[in-house]
Structure formats: C-alpha cells, structure tokens
C-alpha cells in the first residue's frame, strides 16, 4: 500500500498543458527526488497535491483511499505539508507562535491564547528537530536555515505524513544542509514520506531513495537512485546528451587588471587582498556569511568600504556608486535577481537597457530604435526564450530571468564581470548556456570574478580559487590545487591566518 498515489494527473492553463497524465507514488519512510527543468511541471504537480490547484483529470489517493484536495486547508488536514522555497514564517512572532500559526492553542471559555502550552509543546518539537533554541525567540533573528527547520517543525506539529520540500537548501549554509539531511533521515525513520525537489544533483544523490524525472509535464522515468548517474539524470531532464557540463577551455591570461589591496568592508571583511588578470575566471569560495557578496558590491560601489584601495586597469579605482563602476566597465550580476537585478513588471526591453540609457539617448531623449536594437541583440546573444520583447520579465522562468540580467549587464560592454551566484534557481539547460557565456567573456579578454556556493560549479569554471574565511583570503589555489575537500576545509577552519596549508 502506497502512502501517496497520484494517478493520471493532468492540468492545463488555457492552451498550456502543464501536466499530462502524471503518476507519482510515494511510500511511507522513503524520500522521492523530483527533478526537472523549470517549466517541467514540478510546481504545478506540487500545488495540485497541496490543494492550491484542482487537476483537470486524475486522482489522488492517500493510504489507497481516494481524496479530493479541494483547498490547502483540506490538504493540511489530510497530512500533506509543503515547505516552499519562500518560507512562510512571520518574522515578528516567536518560534512557538510560528509552530502554531493558524492553530493557536487556547484556554478557558474566552478562548485566550495559551502561550505556556504552546511553549511547552514547542520545546518537545524542538527536541525532535535536534535544535537548541528558546521557543520564545523571535523567528526573524534566526538564519534562513533555522527558519526552515521551524517551518518543518510546523508541518510536524500539524501531523504531516507527506512532506514536500521545494529547493530546501537554496539559503542554507553547508552546516545547515547537514542538519537538514539528519532531520530528513529522522523523519524517514518515523514513517513520513518525503518528496524532495532540487536542482542540486549532489543533494538528490545524497538523500533520495528513488528519483523521478519530469519533462514538459510528463513523467519521463522513475528509478531507484543507484540506477541513475548525474549524466543520465540530466539527459533525461533536458533530452539532450551532455558531453561536458562545465565547458572549461584553458586560455592565456594577461596582465593584472583588478587589484584589491587590504580592503575592509564592515562587518565581515577585515583585510582582503588579491589580484585578477585579463581573461581570468577567478572563483571566490566561502561559507554563507563570509562576505563574498559584500566584496563584490564594494568593488562595484554599491556598498562602502572603510579601508584599503582598489585599482582597475592600472589606475586607482574610486567608485562611490554603481553608475561610476558601470562607466569604468565594471558590472555586477547580483545574488538576488528578483529583488536586486530586475524590474519584474517592466518589459524585457526596458530591463535590458536600464544601465545604458545615457548611451542610447540624444540630448536626454531616448532613441527607441536603438533601444529595440539593443534588446534584440541581448535576447539573441543570450538565447532568451520569450515570445515578445515587450512582455513583463516576471512571466519568464528563473533561467530566462537570469539571462535578462546578463543581457542588461552586458549591454554596457564591460571588462569586469562580478558574478554573484549566477546560476541560482536556474534550470540545467540554462545553466549550461550561462557557463558558455562566461567562458566566452573570458576568452574575449574580460576579467570574471565568480562567487558561487555550488562548489562543483566553482571548481568546474575557475582558473583560480580564492577562499574567504574570517574576513580575509585564506587560500589562493590554482585550478589543479583546488579540490572540494581543500576548499571546504579552508572555508570552515578556524584560526587559519593567511596562506594556510591543508592538513592531509
């Protein structure tokens, strides 16, 4: 008897067939990985399970009993819990209050809130989660990783039997990811069924018992994890053969273009010094919170620095605002494209030309022909899939949105690309395209500084890897020296000073 059985689920939005006859089976005590490109139908399937959508056809059964999940409330009552990428915590309330959101414990005839009872129950829940946190702590003070565990705790409190986790590790530190895996194994042992959605294949292989691939709204294959390899998985997702995931091509590096000297950026960076060369892809590794984004933003002029100096192309670089950096040929692809990189409700065209408005204008008046031209070039160069340059960027998939950010930053013909997590939330097909673009830029003589939490990506593309820890550069590794273990060690070890050697 299967814990959860979704049979023949079909769902269309107008002419768009999001799901066609999808079958999904989940046993109690198993973790089922669900993978597919953006637009493959994963979130539609999950939302159907959650009761946010009603399927056009097909049925859902829990414990072999058919159930119609007409609303999310019914879904929750049936034991279905979805942990979305965007957490639903209320930052101002306490941990206990968040556990009981919408299901507050009351006492007495006046139904007053019984905080004491909630706190007691919260302590029990926290023990189950192996977390040592005061239940009265304000949730907003916790890191995203811990907030996510509280969200899982809420699901457990609601007696969830089916847990769906959508991209659970996107804001987690390596340590928190470990905690999450432990929690998942514990919940498995307690008989919960877990559906795990992620773009990070290493995680899928680490934690899932079986893996199901969706493509274009259809089930392509479901196999036990050992029967998949990362290549076969990706090929099933994109329906193409991938010879080489990271298109690294060595090239001749030129002179020093960017020099960073004893930079101090409060609060996390105390003294950062390094050099980057023409045509080089310099990777920057470090744990979440090591100051990588601040470093890029300081070079870009988006964030002030307290001490130190910069030089670019042999001359001192003094930028106090992004517009000055852009004029000097330096651009930033920010970490959070939705909040920092795009005007979501504006058109592709408008987004692409935002940084170069002055260059397409004559005495203040924008030349609309050049605007259209520029946006067409950007769309073609980055292979952005959109049916019109006028459509709002909000409606594009994550991968295409990221390409729009690339198109915008490239429009100013920069010589230094500061890339902060350039493939976060981007599907596999688009990732490969982005990697190729990065390699092209480097081959054309641009300098690339790449910050990425995905070590395989960093190690796959970079010519050199710097490791940030405790506010300084603790490692400057060549491509050959940079291994996953060494980088991880340097990122997390304490009291390293500078230029440490790895312990073997």
């Amino acid at each position: 008897m299967a814990l959860l059985s979704m049979k023949g689920i079909s769902k269309a939005f107008g002419a768009n067939r999001a799901l066609s006859e999808v079958n999904l089976e989940l046993q109690a005590g198993e973790v089922l990985g669900l993978v597919g490109e953006n637009g493959a139908g994963k979130s539609t399937l999950i939302k159907t399970l959650a009761g946010a959508y009603q399927p056009d056809n097909g049925s859902i059964e829990i414990d072999d009993k058919p159930i119609e999940v007409r609303s999310p409330a019914i879904g929750i009552a049936a034991g279905i819990a979805i942990i979305y990428q965007e957490l639903t915590m209320v930052p101002e309330l306490s941990v206990a209050e968040n556990f009981f959101l919408g299901q507050v414990i009351t006492k007495g005839p006046l139904k007053l809130v019984d905080r004491a009872a909630m706190n007691r129950r919260a302590v029990e829940l926290l023990k189950t989660l192996d977390l040592k946190i005061d239940p009265r702590l304000r949730v907003g003070n916790l890191t995203p990783g811990y907030q996510q565990m509280i969200e899982i705790g809420r699901a457990i409190n609601r007696k969830a039997r089916i847990l769906v986790m959508d991209e659970p590790t996107s804001s987690l530190s390596e340590h928190e990811v470990g905690l999450l895996y432990q929690l998942i194994r514990k919940l498995k042992a307690q008989g919960l069924g877990i559906i795990y959605i992620s773009h990070h294949l290493e995680e899928i292989f680490e934690v899932c018992d079986r893996v199901m691939v969706l493509r274009d709204g259809q089930t392509i294959a479901v196999r036990p994890t050992p029967q998949w390899t990362s290549y076969s998985l990706v090929e099933a997702m994109v329906n193409r053969t991938i010879d080489q995931f990271y298109p690294y091509r060595p090239r001749n590096l030129g002179e020093v273009t960017l020099a960073v000297n004893k930079l101090e950026v409060a609060p996390r960076l105390t003294e950062v010094s390094f050099e980057a060369h023409r045509g080089e892809i310099l990777g920057i590794a470090g744990v979440v919170g090591s100051g990588r984004s601040e470093l890029l933003k300081a070079i870009f002029g988006a964030v002030p620095y307290q001490k130190g100096n910069l030089s670019w192309l042999g001359k001192p670089l003094k930028v106090r605002q992004p517009s000055q950096a852009i004029e000097q040929g330096i651009v930033l692809v920010p970490e959070d494209r939705k909040n920092e990189g795009l005007m979501l409700d504006a058109s592709l065209e408008s987004n692409i030309v935002t940084s170069v408005l002055d260059r397409i204008a004559v005495s203040g008046l924008v030349n609309f022909q050049r605007k259209r031209e520029l946006s067409r070039q950007g769309i073609a160069q980055f292979n952005i899939a959109a049916w019109s340059a006028q459509m709002p960027v909000r409606n594009l998939s994550g991968g295409n949105q990221q390409k729009v950010v690339f198109a915008r930053t490239s429009a100013s013909k920069p010589k230094l690309y500061l890339l902060d997590e350039p493939t976060r939330g981007v599907d596999v097909g688009a990732k490969v395209e982005v990697y190729n673009q990065i390699m092209n830029f480097a081959e054309q003589g641009c300098t690339i500084i790449l910050v990425s939490s995905e070590l395989p990506e960093l190690l796959g593309l970079a010519d050199r890897v710097l490791v940030l820890n405790e506010g300084r550069v603790v490692g400057d590794l060549s491509r050959a020296e940079a291994t996953h273990e060494l980088v991880l060690h340097l990122s997390t070890a304490e009291n390293l000073g500078t230029g440490a050697q790895a312990k073997k």
């Binding site: 005007m343 504006a346 899939a385 409606n395």
Partner: protein
C-alpha cells in the same frame, strides 16, 4: 537570430499565450486595461442623457477650467507615484503658494511678475524640503509629506492671519482668469504642461529612470541609476507644479484664500490612480492621469448639473474610484495568475 517559440529553448511552458479565456475573464482583461477610458465614456454618455446642458460648450469649458488645478498638480503627482512615492502636501502647497505670492504683491508692493515667481519658488522650496527629507533623512514619503501638509497649511494661516487677500492686479490674475485667442489660460497651461510632461516621462532618460526606480528601487540602483537624485528631482517637480497650480487657482478666484485646496491631494491621487498608476510604483502614464482628471471633473460637473447634493457627490466620487481601482486590481491578479 530572431527568437520565436519554435526555435528557442522554452524554459517555461507557461509562456505560451493564453488565448482560451472565459468570457468574464476576457471582460476583466479588457476592462482593466482601459478602465479609465471606459469609465469616462460611460459617465459622458450617462450625463448627456440625463442633462441637456451637459454637452454644451460652456459646460465643457467649465469642466476643463475647474479641473486645471487638479490636472497641473496631478502631473507632478504622477511622477512621484510612479517612483512608488507619495506627496500628501499638494493642497497645502497650492494654498501657501497662493497666499505668499498674493501677499508679497498686496502687502509688500512687489510687481505682479515677482509675485508669480515667488509662488513658483515656494512650490519648489517645499518640494525640495520633501525631497531632501525623503532621500537624505530617509523619512517615509507618507510621513514626510503629511508633516509638510500640516506645516505648509500652518504657515499659510499664520502669514495671512486667516484672512483672504484681495486686490490682485491683472498682471497676476491673467494666469487664472485671462485668455489667449479665446482659450482660457488655465487650459493652455494645463495642455502645455501635459504635453511636456508626457514627452519627459515617456521619451527621456529621466522618464525611463523614474519607471525603473518605481519598478524596483534596489535593482535600479544596482543597475547604475542615481536613485536619490531622481527621487529628489521628482519631489521638486511635484512641488513646483503645485506652486503653479496655486497661482492658477488664485488667479481664477482673483483672491488668495488660506483655506483653499484643502483636500486637493485626495482628488489628485485619485485621478492618478484611476488613470492606471499603481501606488506600488512602476506603472502609470500622463495620458492615463489626464483621463483620470477628466473623469473626476466630469463626475463632479454632471452631478452638479443634476442638482445632486454636494454631500452625495462626494460619496459617488468615492464609489467610482473604488470601482475603478477594483477592476484594475482584478486585472492585475488575472495577469499574474496567467504567468
């Protein structure tokens, strides 16, 4: 290489055009994109049927002249609202500019043109104050301009001692009461301001940057736009235009009343919002605002002609605004759901 759905790697299936909409959905889709035009059309049709004086030339001349104060102020408000800001001090600035410009002429013997200049300067100064409070001191626009609303009104009453200022020369009042080749000055100024404003908002770098800031302030900053400078300019503009509106109003009444334009900000914001701008920023246009202003003007005028009590006029006005914003919200929701 042109990108078409066939030869591109569609990252998201939901990009395909959603042609199959139910009838109510199609109605909402259409209505929400032309809300204000439809509203205006319906009102014009309704009133012309209900009153035979409605379509007469003098009546329309009335409508446009009476709306000119709201119209000119609404131009500045449109810029501010598109940046996701708000300016509540509009009415008070109109009054202050009127009182001070009239006062320097009548009380201090300034020539008419100097009085006009003073009025504009007053508007610009308040605009500058608003802009600096918001961009340099980091105050929220709502609070900062609310405070200015009170302070400017207070200054108006203090300076005038609550008294109306009469006896203004024609060199001053022509702005509100005069005409050129038979067209009244307020109308000419309003039309001119709208044309210039529209060109600036839709075609200049400045205009693009205004939309970008409203769309996503942080993204605009990281894209190299000098957000604080543009925001400052936008409030400066709003203040200056309110100052101009104050001159027009005083010219029309040939007197400066310390109580004038009380509550103007509500009419102004309503016009801009009915015209399609979003208070969250990033959307709106001066053409829309123009329709919004006309809608409010036509509504008020028509109800007057029908001898509806002024109390009920306010209610109906509110109801129309509510409906317009509701339809717009439904349209937005639908567009988001289809994404």
């Amino acid at each position: 290489m042109a990108v078409t759905p066939e030869n591109s790697d569609l990252g998201s299936v939901s990009l395909k055009v959603n042609k199959a909409q139910t009838l109510p959905q199609q109605i909402i889709n259409f209505a929400s994109r032309f809300t204000v035009q439809i509203a205006l059309l319906l009102l014009v049709i309704a009133f012309s049927l209900l009153s035979d004086r409605f379509l007469q030339i003098e009546n329309w001349s009335n409508i446009i002249q009476q709306s000119s104060i709201i119209a000119v102020s609404a131009i500045g408000a449109t810029f501010v609202i598109i940046t996701a800001g708000i300016d509540l001090s509009v009415g008070s600035v109109v009054a202050l500019s009127g009182i001070l410009s009239a006062g320097v002429i009548v009380n201090s013997g300034f020539p008419a043109w100097a009085g006009l200049l003073v009025g504009l300067l007053v508007g610009l100064l308040v605009g500058l104050f608003n802009g600096l409070s918001i961009t340099r001191l980091g105050l929220s626009a709502f609070i900062a301009t609310l405070a200015t609303l009170a302070m400017a009104r207070g200054l108006t009453l203090a300076y005038s001692n609550g008294q109306t200022i009469f006896g203004l020369p024609t060199g001053y009042t022509f702005l509100g009461s005069g005409d050129l080749f038979g067209i009244s000055f307020p109308v000419i100024i309003t039309a001119l301001m709208f044309i210039i404003g529209h060109i600036v908002l839709s075609r200049t770098v400045f205009g693009h940057q205004v939309y970008a800031i409203g769309g996503n302030r942080e993204a605009a900053r990281l894209a190299g736009i000098n957000v604080r400078r543009i925001e400052l300019l936008v409030y400066l503009l709003a203040g200056g235009l309110s100052g101009l509106a104050g001159l027009i109003l005083t010219g029309r009444l040939t007197a400066a009343l310390p109580s004038s334009a009380t509550g103007l900000e509500l009419d102004v914001i309503a016009s801009v919002v009915i015209g399609g701008a979003s208070l969250f920023g990033g959307r709106g246009s001066l053409i829309g605002t123009l329709f919004g202003v006309l809608t409010i003007g036509v509504l008020r005028n028509g109800l007057n002609l029908l001898n509806v009590s002024p109390f009920w006029v306010q209610f109906v006005q509110g109801a129309v605004i509510f409906l317009a914003v509701l339809i717009d919200a439904l349209g937005q929701r639908q567009r988001r759901a289809n994404a």
